[in-house]
């Protein structure tokens, strides 16, 4: 069995989350995960990072440009 090192593990995190590892790679990844607290935490923090970005608020169009665009849309001939 090929043992994964932490420094390899951290480079496979996204591939793992995207389900892009081969079955053998995924097995080695999961095996490592069960016995390495540091890597478990790293994986979790990458997930947390993605969640934090998801929670970022988005800006909105200014009311003026929104109105202008709606007017342009309305006035466009069919």
């Amino acid at each position: 069995m090929n043992e994964l090192e932490c420094r390899q593990f951290v480079e496979q995190v996204t591939a793992y989350l995207e389900r892009a590892l081969t079955p053998a790679e995924e097995q080695a990844f999961v095996d490592h995960l069960t016995e390495c607290d540091g890597c478990e935490r790293y994986l979790d923090q990458v997930r947390q990072t993605a969640r934090a970005l998801d929670a970022l608020p988005t800006d909105a169009l200014s009311p003026e440009s929104r109105t202008a665009l709606l007017n342009t849309f309305r006035d466009r001939p069919s």
Binding site: E5, R7, A50, L53, L56, L61, R74, S78
Partner: protein, 207 residues
Amino acid sequence: MDDLPVDKVLVRRLCDRDESAFALVLDRWSGGMLRLARSYVSTEASAAEVVQETWLAVIEGIDRFEGRSSLRTWVYRILTNTAQRRGSREHQMVPSDELGQPTVDPQRFQSEGQPFPGHWWEPPPVWPEPEGGVLTDEVRGLLVAALEELPERQRVVIALRDAEGWPADEVCELLDITAANQRVLLHRARAFVRAKLETYYTQEETS
């Protein structure tokens, strides 16, 4: 958030000059488009102009939309083209060999001859859980600043995937990149932002 009508319905309504359909996509997509435009241009003001210009092109061109991609991808492609044209002065390409570099500081791992080569010296420190999942203003500011520091393509990918929640295949289609390439860009971007959060949380701990 309610789902938008399926493309076929949406496009027909837009072609029929149904204003409520236009308002629907305008309100749904403009926020993400502003964020994405900011990946290409350097000010909020030019990002707003890019988005405005994009919608004008959409109004102009909707009758010619052929449905070869999703409506959203089509709109966003107009956006990226518009933004890229405008942002070309500040366009910075990342040398591709940089993409092969480790995403975590190699010093964090033991080297050959140490008891556990390739393993953490110190595991990553624990982060506080954000209360009720809500980010503080400080963390938000830090995330926005971190995105700002990323090279353009990494920033575009992480904004679409993590901030906007796009599926990988739609991002690949929009940017015309391979799945593997998309993954590498996303991975580097996430590792960079994670490291920024780690620095922030560790400083907070010791201050």
